[in-house]
Amino acid sequence: MVIFSVAGKDLLRFLGDRRALVVSLALPLVLTFIMGLSFGGGLFGKSGISAIKIALVAEGIPELLRDRFTEGLEESGFFSVSWVDSNAADFLVRNGEVSAAVVLPDDFLRQALSFEEIPILIWKDPGSSLKAGIVEEVLSRGLREYQAGEAAYLGLWPEDAAAAGDSSAVDLVEKYFEGAFSTLWQSWREVENDSSWAEFQERTARIMDRQVALVEALGQPGIELEVQDKVSDQDVSQSEDINLFNYFLPTFAVFFLMFGVAGATGDFHRERKMGTLQRQLMSPLRALEFVLGKWLSASLQGSLQLMVLFLGGAILFQVNLGPDPWSLPLAIVLTCTAATGFFLLLTLLCRDEKMADNLKTIVVLISAMLGGNMVPVDSLPPWISAVGQFFFNYWANLSFSHILVSNRNIFEEPQPLLILFGATIGLLGASLIVFILRQRRGGLL
């Protein structure tokens, strides 16, 4: 078929263009790598991805502190926390119900208040990708805040210590701090004559000690983390663990795909300028064959680009390629055919290459913005995600998220693919009509 000759020739040109290869294949991988490393996913944790479940074991810890830890851990966007005893925690880890258990020592509170280093255990399955460092960071932040708060509290309101039987000191402080400013001033002036001055000094010194402790507490590594592996009986991939690259890779891949396909379809104007388009139209090649050939070649280029990216992602970042061998390729191909249809139509509607390039750059950025390639769709205002549904990349992102992040067979939820398929047919038909109209009006010269 002559369509394949047209497409094959373009593919040959694409593969011979080293710059295009670098831009469309290497760059997205590098970017994914950088983003994956530097973000650690905090931005996306809340919206795109379900939180990692962890169990906290802490006997004899006040409610207040528990809440503070829970808040800290959940605020990070990575974790959802449940408080259990150590037996339950062991069970949960072994059954893959939680990704890890964090075990605080029994005398955690005493250690915390005396600013000792606190040994904390993390039980996790060795296959889990949970990073101990994240837990350490969150825990020690919570702990430090608690310690600092405690020190400040005791230093500033020593009267609370009255319950501990230190009433004379409390009385003394109260005496000095009662009444109006003038009274206070009077007291200070008379202080030398006061027999209780020594006691007051002692109390002040203790307050100072507390303040120093506060400062130290804020500057100290408060906890020491020990990770203990507990092998889960469950298949690791079934657990709740997520690989952030599963989210980042498709997002970047689709973004770069748009640029790639926008460039590939721009070949229409380049061929027009070179005269090869006209030369083809003076051969037995028909308009339909030309348009289909161009569409096929750009779709193939795009598919090749995505496949290399996903395979690269799988090798470099252990990206999940889906539960079966056909979901991902199918999503890739339909994404590319729809993308090509979209950009081919835009190209044909534009008078010349410059106009097409400008328009397509703007459209790529807008689609990326609204369709979820810059910011996750869930975190956009609802009206924007409603608008985003009119862009093919929204549906592409959705399919990839089903396959890579949720590890689901695409046929379980075929709506995104059906929409991509429909878009392909519609856009291709429209492109053909525009092409023929242009040809009639001599707009191909």
């Binding site: 020739k9 040959l12 005269g275 003076m282 010269l445």
Partner: protein, 310 residues
């Protein structure tokens, strides 16, 4: 083989081709000669079904372009004015592609492509990208790319533009060779010498109109037995000269062209003494005088008032 009747093609209000007619017999090398913007490429585009004609009828090998474009396309080979090749593909890959468009494939195609590379003298560079080629090499490849399917009819649209004299004569040689083998060729050019050297029949086209048409000899005969006398005179003598000689029986016409007086006459030799007498009676020196036998160039000048070499 090719019949064009009253062909017109408009771009908006511009009549790029304005009612031209000509015929090209089988095996003839037909030259379409005209300055830039005359409408040559537009004519070729209509003849190759790229543009539908607005008026008139064009028949190629018995098929009308408007009714049966597919049949016409199979008959014709085209060498466009630009280098319509993929610069980022190797020479051989280019030819293979153009061959496939005409349904060639496999060994036949490979053999044909090798033949053409040989013909273009590019077999050594077959695997090199076209972008590395010199202007002449690109032109030769551009030419043979129109021959992959061994067409009966070949359109060549200014195939020698932008290359040096040596490369040009090589291309002209190739075309002459093709014509000798019986191919029907339409050759457009704005180089008069090329048309004169190469073509059996010539149509001169200007501003979309066919201003002269015929064999080289016929065209010259159109100017008939005429000589052109060209002489240089001081500006103030022009008017008087023209008044005096316009009525003379031997003078077919007189005009000022590029600062010189041009006298068109049946016999130059008979007129010269009269001119000399006129000059000496006014004490004017003859600064420069030449008598010219008519050729295509003078014909063209007479027809369009423009110099082809411009």
């Amino acid at each position: 083989m090719i019949q064009v009747e009253n062909l017109a093609k408009k771009f908006g209000s511009l009549r790029a081709v304005d009612g031209i007619s000509f015929q090209v017999e089988r095996g003839v090398l037909f030259g379409l000669l005209g300055p830039n913007g005359a409408g040559k490429t537009t004519t070729i585009n209509v003849l190759s079904t790229l543009l539908p004609p607005d008026e008139g009828k064009v028949t190629i090998g018995g098929y009308e372009v408007r009714l049966d474009p597919a049949a016409v396309r199979r008959l014709i080979g085209i060498v466009p004015q630009e280098i319509a090749l993929y610069q980022d593909l190797a020479a051989r890959d280019n030819l293979l592609f153009w061959g496939r468009l005409y349904g060639l494939a496999g060994k036949d195609l490979g053999r044909r492509v090798d033949e053409l590379l040989e013909l273009a003298d590019l077999h050594q560079q077959a695997k090199q990208k076209v972008e590395t080629f010199s202007g002449g090499m690109k032109r030769r490849l551009n030419l043979v790319a129109g021959l992959v399917h061994s067409p009966e009819i070949l359109y060549l649209d200014e195939p020698t533009v932008g290359i040096d004299a040596q490369a040009r004569s090589r291309i002209l040689e190739m075309i002459r060779e093709l014509s000798n083998r019986g191919m029907t060729v339409i050759y457009t050019t704005h180089y008069l010498e090329e048309a004169e050297q190469l073509c059996d029949r010539i149509g001169v086209i200007d501003k979309g109109r066919m201003v002269a048409l015929g064999d080289k000899e016929q065209l010259i005969d159109q100017v008939g037995d005429q000589d052109i006398i060209r002489l240089h005179l001081p500006q103030d003598a022009h008017k008087e000269f023209m008044e005096d000689f316009a009525e003379s029986t031997d003078c077919l016409g007189v005009r000022i062209f590029r600062g010189k007086i041009e006298v068109c006459t049946v016999d130059g030799a008979r007129m010269l003494p009269g001119i000399q007498a006129w000059l000496s009676s006014r004490n004017l020196d003859l600064q420069q005088l030449e008598v010219e036998r008519p050729n295509l160039e003078t014909l063209y000048l007479n027809l369009t008032g423009r110099d082809l070499r411009e």
